[in-house]
């Protein structure tokens, strides 16, 4: 009944064209057409934030956007976070501070935290908890996620961070 529409946007810096029905949700396009399966689906009521991506400088829940709304947009997913094979400070922070267990919320957490730290490079604990409230986690109890964001904030501000994670100690610090 509804004709398909071609939508062009930039996905992690790369020009991307998809053909979708208007009703297709951005999360499904990212996962099923673009094969960026880092963003996850944890609910159908827009609460959990597992699908969070960065969209024109905003953190958005991609389950609550239509792909047709992404025409001309700049979309960043967790797959675009590491640069040149080097982990983003947040990815390193989540490893170092044990900010993930099952890993299902992590891509959304990372994308939300990356926008948060661009808006507020030095958030206190209360600010981190308040501005990360759109992302649910079943595993961690959040405590270590707060520490992970604080670790990344310190590193991004150029302050010293202590890394003990076996995957990172080999080539850093």
């Amino acid at each position: 009944m509804s004709k398909k529409i071609m939508v062009s946007f930039r996905l992690n810096g790369k020009e991307t064209d998809v053909v979708v029905e208007p009703r297709e949700l951005l999360i499904h396009t990212l996962r099923e057409k673009c094969l960026h399966t880092g963003p996850h689906i944890g609910c159908e009521t827009s609460h959990c934030g597992a699908c969070t991506v960065d969209f024109d400088g905003m953190s958005v829940k991609s389950c609550t956007m239509l792909t047709v709304q992404a025409e001309g947009a700049e979309v960043l997913t967790v797959e675009g976070l590491a640069q040149g094979g080097e982990l983003h400070a947040l990815q390193e922070g989540f490893m170092q501070e044990h900010g993930l267990q099952c890993g299902f919320c992590t891509p959304g957490m990372l994308m939300r935290a990356s926008r948060l730290l661009q808006e507020n490079p030095d958030p206190d604990e209360e600010e981190i908890r308040y501005w990360m409230a759109g992302n649910l986690c079943r595993c961690t109890g959040y405590q270590n996620i707060v520490k992970a964001v604080q670790y990344a904030a310190r590193k991004l501000r150029g302050e010293a961070v202590e890394t003990s994670h076996p995957l990172m100690t080999a080539d850093t610090h």
Partner: protein, 288 residues
Amino acid sequence: MIPRPFEYHVPRTLSDAIGLLNEHGDSAKLLAGGHSLLPMMKLRFAEPDHLIDLGKLTELKGIREAGKEIRIGSMTTENELIWSTLLQTRCPLVVEGARQISDPQVRYRGTIGGDISHGDPGNDHPALMIALNAVFVLQGEHGERVVPADGFFLGTYMTTLDPGEIMTEIRIPIPEAGAGSCYAKLKRKTGDFATAAAAVTLRMSGGTVSDVRIALTNVAQTAVRATDAEQALRGKPLDESAIAEAARLAMAVCDPVADLRGDVEYKTAMAGEMTRRALATAYSRAAH
């Protein structure tokens, strides 16, 4: 999770949007932030044949001072309200309210105009706008009309907005210097709709209340103004017994629906308690 199929339209001008709305009639819905409409469509509570996306209408965005009013474009997002230095300094109640709405991601998309037009008694802006004595600008095929927030909300998901109209602007009289305000919201968790909430604006002069407005969230079919409570306070000192009496009168206008947030008695009692807290905090913030 999967909405029914629909045709998507993305007008570039307000008049095109109004034209599309009138062309497609009841089978069309306006898409603003999409954070009430798409969730309903994903659950198939709403099944419009046409979506008219207002996302490209930059003329509906922005916050500015115009004479004695603050004018907010209907497509202004909740985060834009929170970060507005104009609102922070001249109308902090909007900021305090918006900070208690949903979560950061939703606030990047959800708009003040959508929150109001949705007409959900659970939404926060309806009571805030009644407390602030705001008016709404509605644009239709035959021009615009300006209607007060107090009287706009007719029932659950029902407002005086005509099917062919688009809310374009929210106009809030700038509170006078020394006015106090508060939005006290009880909720089960961050991001939840209120179990009960109270929006208060208040002005004191010579030790007595010279002006007060009280509006309640999610304790009736619509946001409701507690006029008897206001009347009882005007011209009197705002002491503990006056606040207790206002809270009692506010409870009298409550007609909540029992649900997982609580039964009728609990919600009504909490509306009284939120009224008490909002009045006390607004008083502490007011000059007197």
